[in-house]
């Protein structure tokens, strides 16, 4: 089992970002090195003026899914932002913005929340991923 795992975050809805944050924190707790690469709508959710907003849920969530997610949150579940912050405090978690997506969304690095460590291209991401698994969310 490789000691590095890499997540490509594409979707920008709160449910997928929550799942990705949980996977990241779990890997960090096991001492794995974790790379998170932000593309498209996931990157948009990390804009510092939007990160705390409601990003909605996947279409398949429906009304029942919305209610279930709200109930978990009301019970005190940490947000995906806080979960990622704790994962970064705990272990070796590097969060990078995809440079193509930065162009697509017309973003500067200063537009991003400080959780994001930098901007890189797909080649640098693959090098960081080493021989570890890559998961697309």
């Amino acid at each position: 089992m490789s000691d590095t795992i890499s997540f490509v975050l594409f979707s920008g809805t709160d449910d997928k970002l929550q799942a990705a944050a949980v996977m990241t924190a779990g890997a960090a707790a096991l001492g794995k090195r974790v790379n998170v690469f932000l593309q498209y709508w996931a990157l948009d959710a990390f804009r510092k003026d939007r990160i705390d907003l409601d990003h909605g849920l996947c279409p398949e969530a429906g009304e029942a899914g919305r209610a279930a997610v709200d109930a978990l949150r009301a019970a005190g579940q940490a947000s995906w932002k806080d979960t990622l912050a704790q994962a970064k405090d705990l272990g070796d978690v590097d969060i990078q913005a995809c440079s193509l997506s930065m162009d697509l969304l017309r973003l500067e690095e200063s537009d991003l929340d400080p959780l994001v460590d930098g901007v890189e291209g797909v080649t640098a991401f693959y090098i960081s991923a080493e021989e570890g698994e890559i998961v697309f969310i």
């Binding site: 779990g26 960090a28 707790a29 001492g31």
Partner: protein, 78 residues
């Protein structure tokens, strides 16, 4: 058997996965090697999670009990 001497307790009751493990991994950094860390959790996945985490990280799961929906784990730091 004499009661085990606990160096530190992590109260993770009410926290959902993966926070009990995240808090534990953070807390175990601050206890000396060989010392015991106690964790309290209400997350139903905890039993398997703590066994797996202990095995993977080399910390020893010394004790695990459940009482009224509260899981209690005692870990000895590697």
């Amino acid at each position: 058997m004499a009661a085990l001497e606990i160096a530190r307790t992590v109260d993770a009751k009410g926290l959902s996965c993966p926070m009990p493990i995240v808090k534990t991994a953070q807390a175990i950094k601050d206890v000396p090697s060989g010392a015991l860390l106690e964790v309290l959790s209400t997350d139903a996945g905890s039993t398997r999670d703590f066994a797996a985490w202990a095995k993977s990280t080399g910390n020893e799961l010394v004790e695990q009990t459940v009482d009224g929906g509260v899981y209690r784990f005692v870990l000895r730091k590697k």
